[in-house]
């Protein structure tokens, strides 16, 4: 099962208002994405916590509907 990039972006934006999100469909199959998420909400969090926040935003779809999301998180400068 696949998910489209717009839906991924929508879910992340909903959980992290103001985040800058860049999503790339790595294979064009709607199942392997890379996402760069820059959000001020990440300040003071470990990288694991930052990624967990994004996974939580996807509400269980990660590892299920969505096989692969290469994730990079950052705090805006």
């Amino acid at each position: 099962m696949a998910m489209d990039a717009v839906e991924i972006e929508r879910l992340i934006k909903e959980a992290l208002p103001g985040a800058v999100i860049v999503i790339e469909d790595l294979r064009g199959d709607g199942d392997h994405y890379a996402a760069h998420v820059t959000a001020s909400q990440f300040a003071g969090m470990t990288r694991i916590q930052q990624h967990q926040m994004v996974y939580q935003a996807l509400r269980g779809r990660m590892g299920d509907q969505l096989h692969a999301l290469a994730l990079q998180t950052a705090i805006p400068k």
Partner: protein, 115 residues
């Protein structure tokens, strides 16, 4: 999904990551990884010359779910150093290229090959 923190699978995970300095929960084995992300972490660890215990979650559905519940992390692979969850493939690769992974291992007294 009724995994609670005192079930046998969770106890086994605690034991494994307690008894081994570096543990990788992965798909397949270090010699025959069954997934590109698991293979990537094996490669990072091998290049650092780090001894680790690879645990294949494909052979055990309860463990596969258990390790996700344990770390609150939805995907495999998962790397643990001295009982602490370090991250999955993306974080491990990022930490490797920035040199943080080597620093972390050294700070925990784990030997790596010279850079």
């Amino acid at each position: 999904m009724n995994t609670t923190l005192d079930n046998p699978v969770i106890n086994r995970i605690k034991q494994d990551i307690g008894e081994n300095d570096v543990v990788l929960y992965m798909k397949g084995t270090p010699v025959f990884p069954q997934c590109g992300f698991s293979a990537a972490v094996v490669q990072v660890l091998s290049q650092l010359g780090v001894k680790f215990k690879g645990i294949d979650i494909l052979t055990d559905p309860a463990l596969r779910q258990g390790v996700k519940d344990f770390s609150q992390w939805p995907t495999i692979p998962q790397l643990y150093v001295k009982g602490e969850f370090v991250g999955g493939c993306d974080i491990v690769r990022e930490m490797d290229s920035s040199g943080e992974l080597r620093e972390l291992l050294h700070s925990k007294g784990i030997y790596t090959k010279a850079a």
